[in-house]
């Protein structure tokens, strides 16, 4: 108790304000993340509802056209702003010239502006041809080709404020023959976000008040070493547990939940807030000691804060939001279904998560072995004292590192090109048969070799430079002593050089493994996963889920699995080699 009293005078107003601001920052970041996610979810839900509506309208219209001809297009679509029927190739069932716009009918659209009919018709026809293609291949139309949305909010026309245009297309199929397509579009006033700006400010003020109030809670007494066998009363334990910092986190969770309740939007935000609350309770003590540290020596933290705030806002919070998103599909909470989809092999897919992981490991190990092998060998040669021109060699051998890696990937893609690539040109000079390295019909081995060559070229200079640096710092007298003892060259390498390279090489290898494991550019640009996804690594699979399937939750789930694998690797490597031990001393 006496310590508390002694500590009291130093808690001046500015300390309180600093505390309040620090706590507010925490609360606002958590709350802000929640608000951002709510808005995103709102937009998503809104989009889904309207898409469904125009989708149903388009399907109905297509059915009506099949039953009664294009004239039916005008019937019974109050909701639709406009209806367009376009014929593509195929039968001229309705007696209409192929490729013409049949009906451009503005049924109900107060905001309709005259549009260029020919441009519009051409756009529809282009799309029609594309959909025709899906039809002949008997594939379902992917959602992003079926629906279109345009946001007018940002253009200069004031009458467009908050207005969005949604459109859906549906194929007209009669007796199995593809006739054309209909398009229904609707202009809608976008609803205001359920979390308004005013509410955000109220949240910030609440957080500020909460933070300021919490700064009056007395500091907990410094931890006394609990003696074994002495029971601590429950009340005391509880008191020790309820620290200002834990309260702050709980407050952050409560504020977020209140914001959600006011906005009547659950789901994503609720889970984010819950996660923040749980994380706060678990991480509270660590955070508490940091807050205490800031009070005691603020000058020290001043150096770390700029970098730390940047990292929190632009790296750690996005990471936490991304993790939350892995439990969602299409804006709805779906629990572990994304993970299940990845981890339970399907009968139709050619590759599974496990085969892809296997290839990723093979890819990483083979690359890092080559990087280290080539890098260390070159460094050993270049480190010889009496070698002439060594700085010239060094400069030239580092060049691959300086070239951006996506350019490298594309360069090697052109070199491995079966028809004009220099690799086949080289094989030809040697009198060998050209190889179909990449593209249709190429084998797993050829794709793998092409990607491996590219990434080896890209990666060895880093290991070489790291080794060169480490070699320079090995004292010469160690070798002299070894010479006196009559050590052979090999013994000197094995007993002197290698152990002294280890402290520099192990962290470099850990970084190399992480970079190679996630080397998206090389795989994506060189092989693209060919043949049949066999050379896809986990990151390119995640990208496929993200960009092609438009399923961010699935991509997030992939990313989390990648992160967990890398974390396990880093942890094991660190335990085995104690690589980072020295750094913490």
């Amino acid at each position: 108790m006496s310590e508390r009293v002694a500590a009291a005078p130093e808690r001046r107003l500015y300390v309180r304000i600093a505390d309040a601001v620090a706590l507010t920052l925490v609360i606002v970041t958590v709350g802000g993340a929640a608000v951002g996610l709510t808005r995103w979810q709102d937009a998503h839900t809104f989009r889904k509802i309207v898409e469904q509506r125009v989708g149903v309208a388009a399907d109905q219209l297509a059915a009506a056209v099949v039953a009664g001809g294009p004239a039916a297009a005008k019937v019974g679509l109050d909701k639709a702003a406009s209806v367009h029927v376009v014929t593509s190739g195929g039968t001229d069932d309705f007696g209409i010239a192929v490729g013409s716009v049949v009906a451009v009918e503005w049924i109900q659209d107060p905001l309709a502006k005259p549009i260029d009919a020919t441009v519009f018709a051409q756009d529809l026809l282009n799309r029609s041809a594309e959909l025709d293609d899906y039809h002949t291949k008997k594939q379902p139309i992917p959602p992003d080709r079926r629906f279109a949305a345009a946001d007018f909010s940002d253009d200069d026309d004031p009458s467009h404020a908050g207005v969005a245009l949604f459109a859906a297309v549906a194929p007209v199929i009669k007796d199995g023959v593809y006739l054309g397509l209909v398009r229904v579009s609707e202009r809608v006033i976008k609803p205001a976000p359920s979390v308004s700006t005013a509410m955000v400010w109220i949240g910030i003020l609440l957080a500020l008040a909460l933070g300021f109030a919490l700064s009056f809670v007395p500091k907990p007494a410094p931890k006394t070493e609990a003696k074994k066998g002495v029971k601590v009363p429950v009340g005391e334990r509880l008191k020790a547990f309820v620290t200002p910092e834990r309260l702050a986190f709980a407050g952050a969770a409560i504020v977020s939940i209140v914001v959600v309740l006011l906005g009547q939007s659950f789901g994503l935000v609720f889970w984010t807030a819950l996660m923040a609350g749980v994380a706060g309770l678990l991480g509270g003590p660590g955070f508490a000691s940091v807050v205490r540290g800031v009070r005691e020596k603020p000058g020290v933290y001043l150096y770390v804060f700029p970098a730390m705030i940047g990292m929190i806002v632009l790296v750690f919070i996005p990471f936490a939001m991304g993790v939350a998103l892995a439990f969602f599909s299409d804006g709805e909470f779906t629990g572990l279904s994304n993970f299940k989809e990845i981890l339970v092999p399907s009968d139709t897919a050619h590759t599974t998560f496990y085969s892809t992981t296997g290839f990723t490991v093979l890819w990483t190990v083979s690359n890092v072995v080559l990087h280290v092998g080539i890098g260390v060998s070159l460094a050993l040669v270049l480190n010889r004292e009496n070698l002439r021109l060594k700085s010239l060699y060094r400069v030239l051998l580092v060049v691959p590192w300086a070239v951006p890696n996506y350019i490298t990937a594309l360069i090697w893609k052109s070199l491995f090109n079966p028809s004009f690539g220099a690799v086949n040109g080289f094989l030809d000079v040697l009198g060998l048969e050209p190889v179909n390295w990449l593209g249709p019909g190429s084998s797993f081995a050829s794709n793998y070799i092409a990607a491996l060559t590219t990434n080896t070229w890209l990666g060895f200079p880093f290991m070489m430079v790291v080794t060169l640096g480490a070699l320079q710092s090995i004292p010469k007298d160690l070798y002299e002593a070894a010479d006196i003892d009559g050590a052979t060259r090999f013994q000197k390498f094995w007993k002197v050089t290698l152990p002294l390279l280890k402290p520099a090489l192990v962290p470099a290898i850990i970084l190399g493994v992480i970079w190679t494991f996630n080397m998206f550019n090389v795989i994506y640009l060189v092989t693209g996963g060919a043949p049949e996804n066999e050379t896809n690594i986990l990151v390119t699979e995640a990208y496929y889920a993200f960009k092609v399937l438009n399923r961010f939750g699935l991509a997030a789930a992939y990313s989390i699995l990648i992160f967990v694998i890398l974390l396990l690797y880093g942890w094991m490597q660190n335990r085995m080699t104690r690589a980072t031990e020295g750094a913490f001393e």
Binding site: G36, V300, G421, V466, G570
Partner: protein, 283 residues
């Protein structure tokens, strides 16, 4: 070490020359493609020189304009320079200050902070793309150079901090102790003693921050909307379309984009070896 025999040195140099040429050969091919007219340089010939010299591809890349008649290359070059230089300055500021604290002070959260920096290297970038978009939108930094600068500078922090911290650790503490005796403040020590002594590592940090910004294209493409606010790498990628690839223009643009970084590497060559590993080998 004993002096090498003539044969030994012939073998060593022969091997090194062979490896260096093999390393540089792909780049010669790129030069050939770029300096040949159109796409004619993209052929299976092993000759690293163009059959016919031409600057057409460079001209086409440099004079590229948008559909509205704006001079795209000029604007994108300017964007790239502004964003990369600003990223470098901001990155050095953030990384050196943080690394100094991690190296010289013992404080609560130090270990956790260092560990968090290391672990953040394992976050797959894709996971952060959508949240990053939302956050920058909320901050009003979408489609703004400042947004890209801030994102690039922070992504470059972890590696830079670890590297710089390692280097700072090798600077003897005696210097600072005598400075404290003379009444120097903590900041004076950082600014007048530590930073000048760590120039090799700071130069390497600058190089990596610059490279992060100069070479990146996925984020630049995602976070920017207007072609006039893109950086040069986005343009390069556009030449390698899904349907047809304009190899000639791609090669020319690649050379223009790579050249500054390659020159920087040459200039900072000596620092690279010392700056990168000094920290790792002290133990």
């Amino acid at each position: 070490m004993k002096k090498q025999s003539l044969w030994g040195s012939v073998v060593t140099h022969g091997t090194l020359i062979f490896i260096t040429l093999a390393t540089l050969y792909p780049l010669f091919i790129v030069l050939r493609i770029a300096f040949s007219p159109g796409d004619s340089g993209a052929n299976a010939s092993l000759n690293p020189l163009p059959r016919e010299w031409s600057l057409d591809n460079f001209e086409a890349v440099v004079t590229a304009t948008s559909s509205r008649g704006e001079w795209l290359f000029g604007r994108q070059l300017l964007n790239s320079i502004i964003i990369s230089v600003a990223t470098t300055i901001l990155g050095i500021f953030l990384a050196t200050t943080a690394a100094y604290a991690f190296s010289r002070f013992r404080f609560a959260g130090r270990k956790a902070g260092l560990m968090a920096f290391l672990v953040s290297q394992m976050f797959p970038g894709m996971l952060m793309m959508v949240p990053l978009y939302l956050i920058l939108d909320a901050l009003g930094l979408l489609n703004a150079s400042l947004g890209l600068i801030v994102v690039y500078a922070t992504t470059a922090i972890p590696f830079a901090v670890w590297m710089l911290k390692g280097y700072f650790d090798t600077i003897p503490k005696d210097l600072e102790e005598s400075a404290i005796m003379d009444g120097a403040s903590q900041f004076t020590i950082f600014w007048r003693i530590i930073l000048p002594l760590s120039m090799p590592a700071v130069a390497v940090t600058a190089l990596f921050s610059f490279m992060t910004a100069w070479n990146e294209f996925v984020l630049a493409f995602t976070l920017m909307e207007e072609p006039t606010s893109f950086t040069l790498p986005v343009t390069i990628y556009a030449y390698v379309g899904e349907q047809s690839v304009e190899w000639g223009k791609f090669a020319a643009a690649s050379i223009i984009v790579s050249l500054p970084v390659v020159l920087l590497f040459f200039a900072l060559q000596r620092n690279l070896v010392g700056g990168l590993t000094a920290g790792g080998v002290k133990g």
